[in-house]
Symmetry: C2
Subunit: 226 residues, 2 copies
């Protein structure tokens, strides 16, 4: 109310443990039903329903009905980016009583962030693309160069289809563990999907961590050298 946007209301919304759980669970971009989210957050359905209503009201979540299910997902990539920013801050502070366990290490190596690849490997990919001038970075904006387009075609990404969609093709997203940019946007999503069909990577059920096959690791380093 005083100056700038109302940061308190937004932060308070994220600040409830149950809601934070819900948001975190949706960070990988998938859509979940109200009951699933209730279980994730460890609360009953009615309680979850209330939280979801608030989050949707605030445009943090998007609700789509499908049959008798209601699927919830993050409203857009901006929300995911802001959450990552908060995680980045929390990671550095004394706030975290969490010691990095083995799962944490896997998360830092490779994880899903709103459907695209994040973590050390996400950053590596981004830097490799920029270094070889496949990707141009101008402030916050990213642009795929003609060489970059060729490269994507080689990998097997259907750029034409992506460009037809109304989603932003390239977008940079700050990585909370690496503190560097990685590639988001529809191209980021398409690349991760491609890695999965190629058998390089597989999403870990129940967490945001990504498992990388032996073959995948070699192929990835070959395609995205630093």
């Amino acid at each position: 109310m005083r100056e700038g946007p109302d940061i308190a209301r937004l932060a308070a919304l994220i600040g409830d443990p149950a809601r934070a759980q819900i948001l975190t669970a949706l960070m990988d971009g998938q859509a979940l039903t109200a009951s699933e989210l209730a279980e994730v957050a460890g609360i009953t359905l009615p309680t979850a329903s209330g939280h979801l209503a608030k989050l949707t009201e605030a445009d943090l979540l998007q609700r789509r009905k499908q049959g008798r299910h209601r699927y919830f997902q993050l409203a857009d990539a901006d929300v995911a980016a802001a959450l990552e920013a908060l995680m980045g801050l929390a990671a550095g502070r004394g706030i975290k009583p969490v010691r990095p366990g083995p799962k944490d290490a896997a998360m830092r190596e490779a994880r899903v962030c709103y459907n695209h690849l994040a973590g050390r490997m996400g950053v590596q990919m981004f830097q490799s693309l920029v270094q070889r001038d496949y990707l141009l970075e101008r402030g916050e904006d990213l642009k795929l160069t003609p060489q970059g387009s060729d490269f994507m075609a080689d990998i097997g990404v259907d750029l034409a289809a992506l460009e037809a969609g109304r989603a932003v093709l390239c977008r940079s997203c700050l990585d909370w563990s690496e503190r560097r940019s990685h590639l988001a946007g529809s191209l980021g999503r398409a690349l991760l999907a491609r890695f999965e069909t190629l058998g390089w990577m597989a999403r870990d059920e129940g967490s945001r961590a990504i498992r990388v096959s032996q073959k995948g690791r070699v192929a990835f380093d070959g395609h995205f050298p630093v």
Copy 2:
């Protein structure tokens, strides 16, 4: 507790209206006393003291005693950056019942963000520096080129003194109103200070807005063309 850093506790900390007021008041990087912050937030001293203790405990604030005063300021630029990120998200959402008034417009044009220049002019400066290869952007890292150093010397910034300090020289900070990067770090701070001594700009007491003189506007556009 589940995965990633404890985002809920951090957000809850920011989510209290009084604490949000306090943090916002410190966004320009200056240090304020407990009583001043109490007044800003519209609470009594004891209450403010409690809030400040919590924020300090969480490493969001830094406390320095000086005589019988205790000065509080943001722990570091990362905190400011995360707050800006939250503001950026809040600005886009339905959350904000704030209509952009005239003061708001001034804030978008030029304001202080942790002692450096933000807003449209901050972004303009950043882009101008990058465009002329005075500043190299590699992911999140920024590097001043030799030409950039010459340019800074021309403007009258004492780079040697800055490099002697232990603060990071260049750092990019996401602008909540422009959604683009602007220049933070000790160089960002030094530049704003220089603009003030040159009489180009003057900080507005009581808000983060920056007033730009007629002369200053012309000179600024001359030095930082886009």
